[in-house]
């Protein structure tokens, strides 16, 4: 790792935070289920970025390994989540979460 290619840790963290915040924002304000789902992926990737950044900075392998786990879980989640979305669309003919509101008191 040469001096020239050195990018400070804080840049990575800022980018990571930015990505995560975008994800949270999208998660809160979007109405389309698929968009919300994508926002979740964005949050996950934001977190992943900070993991690898720390791992590289501290020369600890654990962070890198953890990212693999996150990716695996995210893949599984995508499979289940998309299946749920299709099921929801088939029964309710809409992807607007504001109309999927039967679960309440």
């Amino acid at each position: 790792m040469g001096q020239a290619s050195y990018i400070p840790l804080s840049y990575y963290l800022l980018l990571s935070g930015f990505l995560f915040a975008c994800g949270v924002l999208g998660f809160l304000i979007k109405r389309n289920i698929i968009t919300i789902f994508m926002s979740i992926e964005l949050m996950l990737n934001g977190v992943n970025l900070s993991f690898v950044a720390f791992a590289a900075h501290w020369h600890v392998l654990a962070g890198q390994i953890f990212v693999f786990f996150v990716m695996v879980v995210a893949a599984a989640e995508a499979a289940v989540g998309l299946a749920i979305i299709i099921a929801v669309y088939r029964t309710r003919e809409t992807l607007n979460v504001d109309q999927v509101n039967l679960l309440k008191l």
Partner: protein
């Protein structure tokens, strides 16, 4: 070593009978119920007899241990039995008289629809009473004590559909509870200061103590508290009020529980604790005074009662007073002697009264009886034996025991003797009054023809049977009467005093229980003549003592005949006289008729304030306005808060997401804040 007597079988047998009849009796025939009840109570009696037969070969006190019960630190209370001369006497009385009354009840209760229930309760009572007399420690005794209270409650309220019977049972239970409270506190004090409730250990640690001469020391306190317990169970002033009401129960119950056995439990307990009382002269004086007063007041009430069972009830209270008087002057064996003879003759009198009631179809008012002598000869003759015995006519059981008590009371103080003597006069008078009213003169009840109809309105057991006319009771009732009559006649000869040429076997027999533990160098009323065991009986006393005693015996005999004569004059020769006397003394007569208004006074002093306080303060104020209000308010508040909170659950996914985000933000903020600190 002692042989194994298997004492535990004696109480367990009636318990088994109670369980079998209680659980299976409803579906069994009356014959089966009878067999079970009589077999198990009879077996207990047989066991008691076999124990008595082997008694002389035992080294006493014989103790039997069955199982651990409570072990906590140094304190132990076990299921253990304790047999000495005193418990043997009680054991024989309870099983013997109990068995006879079981037999009698077969005839008396035969027509009752709850026949099996009656015998189940009766056997249960036997179990608890035997536990009480055989217990090896105060705590086990207390179980029996409470148990007989329960059985008494169940049997007084046996005809519970009748309001008066239900309330009488309740009254007995509640009044007894007051006494039990005193008993319990005494037990706590014993545990605190002697670390044990086992008779042998407690008495061992008390025997070296010297008597408490003045002031209320520990033993005095314990003694008085024990006496409070005895007052409840044995119907002494001020807690006697439940016993007359207890006559609401079936007559055999009155005989067994409220005359012969349970009510004597207090006397037994005081005698059992004589080691404590001998060292607490003040407590003994309390016992003597309470006993003397009770004997007198109950006798005066008994004089004017018109219900045949009420007369006997007040007589029982009065005779129990005699027993306590004896205990109070330190003559414990005399008290137990009277307890035994009283069990015979009062059990007999109640059973005979039951037979009379049976004969006249449920009538209990003596004013409506009369002239029954020739119609129910067996009942008449047995009742005569009982009456003569209780009145103290020479040669019968009551004469010897009562005379011994009076003599010992005189040795303590002439005032006890005087009151006791007046009571003896009253006793003789009201008993012969009962006798003349019931058996002599003309029948004053409804005409024979109307008799059948009278039966159906009768309060007692025999509302069902259809045979008309005044009739003798069946054999199954007469035989126990005859046996008890024989016992009432000869029962006193076990304790013929020295002055009459006997040597008081009974006193000698109980001697080892009562005399060896008297405090050294004790004086005064507490331990009259007990300094040395060998000087105990009246026999070895100087000749002047013997002749004095003979004079006193003469006085009591004269008084007994005086009572007989008065009753004869007033209720046989000129039966119109009593009404005139009552009219001329109307104030006093009314007071007596209303039993000195004690029930009314208690109602005004204790019952009404309790009910009012409970209703006004505890129910309306404390319960409704504070406890209920607190619960209702907090429930309403929780409902209100939940109602607000449930709006969070809108079903809108994005609002959930918002809550999650907000929550995470709070957690993060908290963590950052913690980190910064």
């Amino acid at each position: 070593m002692n042989p194994n007597l298997n004492l535990w079988l004696i109480p367990i047998l009636p318990l088994a009978g109670a369980a079998i009849n209680g659980f299976l009796g409803k579906k069994s025939s009356r014959q089966a119920v009878t067999v079970v009840a009589l077999f198990f109570s009879g077996a207990a009696f047989a066991m008691a007899l076999s124990v008595a037969a082997r008694f002389s070969s035992l080294s006493l006190p014989y103790q039997e241990f069955f199982a651990h019960w409570i072990r906590s630190g140094n304190f132990t209370a076990d299921f253990a039995f304790y047999l000495d001369q005193l418990s043997l006497v009680m054991l024989l009385i309870v099983t013997g008289v109990g068995f006879l009354i079981h037999i009698y009840s077969v005839g008396y209760m035969w027509d009752d629809p709850s026949y099996y229930r009656f015998f189940s309760y009766l056997n249960l009572f036997m179990f608890f009473m035997l536990t009480l007399v055989l217990a090896g420690n105060y705590l086990l005794m207390f179980i029996g004590w409470e148990g007989v209270g329960l059985a008494s409650y169940l049997l007084i309220g046996f005809w519970f559909t009748k309001d008066s019977a239900a309330s009488a049972g309740k009254k007995a239970f509640i009044v007894n509870r007051i006494g039990d409270f005193g008993f319990l506190i005494a037990l706590f004090l014993l545990i605190k200061h002697f670390g044990s409730l086992n008779f042998s250990q407690v008495f061992q640690s008390i025997v070296p103590l010297s008597p408490e001469k003045a002031g209320a020391g520990l033993l005095t306190t314990i003694g008085i508290l024990l006496m409070v317990g005895a007052c409840g169970k044995s119907a002494q002033i001020p807690l006697y009020v439940w016993l007359p009401d207890a006559m609401e129960g079936p007559t055999p119950v009155s005989a067994l529980i409220h005359a012969a056995t349970m009510v004597t439990a207090g006397v037994y307990m005081v005698s059992r604790s004589h080691v404590i009382f001998e060292r607490a002269p003040i407590a003994l004086t309390v016992v003597a005074i309470v006993g003397t007063l009770t004997a007198f007041f109950a006798a005066t009430i008994g004089v004017v009662q018109t219900d045949i069972k009420k007369v006997l009830a007040y007589s029982t209270v009065s005779q129990l007073g005699y027993m306590f008087m004896a205990c109070g002057v330190g003559a414990f064996s005399a008290g137990i002697f009277h307890l035994m003879t009283h069990a015979f003759f009062k059990g007999l009198l109640f059973l005979a009264a039951g037979s009379v009631i049976h004969a006249v179809g449920g009538e209990q008012d003596m004013r409506k009886m009369g002239g029954l002598r020739s119609k129910i000869p067996w009942t008449f003759w047995t009742m005569t034996a009982g009456t003569l015995a209780i009145a103290g006519i020479p040669g019968l059981a009551g004469f010897f025991s009562k005379d011994e008590i009076l003599w010992r009371a005189y040795q303590a103080s002439w005032s006890y003797w005087l009151v006791g003597l007046i009571t003896a006069l009253l006793t003789s008078f009201y008993m012969f009054r009962l006798w003349f009213l019931t058996f002599f003169g003309h029948y004053r009840g409804e005409a024979e023809a109307a008799h059948d109809h009278a039966i159906h309105a009768a309060p007692d057991a025999h509302s069902g049977h259809g045979h008309g006319g005044i009739h003798e009771s069946p054999k199954v009732m007469v035989i126990p009467l005859a046996i008890l009559a024989v016992l009432s006649v000869i029962g006193g000869y076990v304790g013929v005093p020295g002055s009459l040429g006997g040597n008081n076997q009974f006193d000698k027999f109980l001697g080892p229980v009562f005399h060896t533990t008297a405090p050294p160098g004790a004086d005064g009323t507490a331990t009259e003549g007990k300094g040395a065991p060998e000087e105990e009986t009246e026999g070895p006393e100087p000749k002047t003592g013997t002749s004095t005693e003979l004079i006193f015996t003469g006085i009591s005999v004269a008084v007994a005949f005086l009572g007989l004569g008065l009753a004869w004059l007033l209720y046989y020769r000129s039966p119109q006289l009593p009404e005139k006397i009552a009219a001329s003394l109307s104030g006093g007569y009314q007071t007596l008729l209303h039993k000195y208004y004690v029930d009314e006074i208690y109602a005004a002093l204790f019952v009404k304030p309790l009910i009012d306080g409970s209703t006004e303060i505890l129910w309306q104020d404390v319960d409704r306005k504070m406890i209920d209000a607190a619960v209702n308010e907090s429930a309403a508040d929780a409902g209100y808060a939940s109602d607000e909170a449930r709006h969070m659950q809108s079903g809108n996914i994005r609002s959930y997401a918002g809550w999650i985000a907000a929550g995470s933000a709070v957690v993060l903020a908290f963590m950052i804040w913690m980190g910064v600190r």
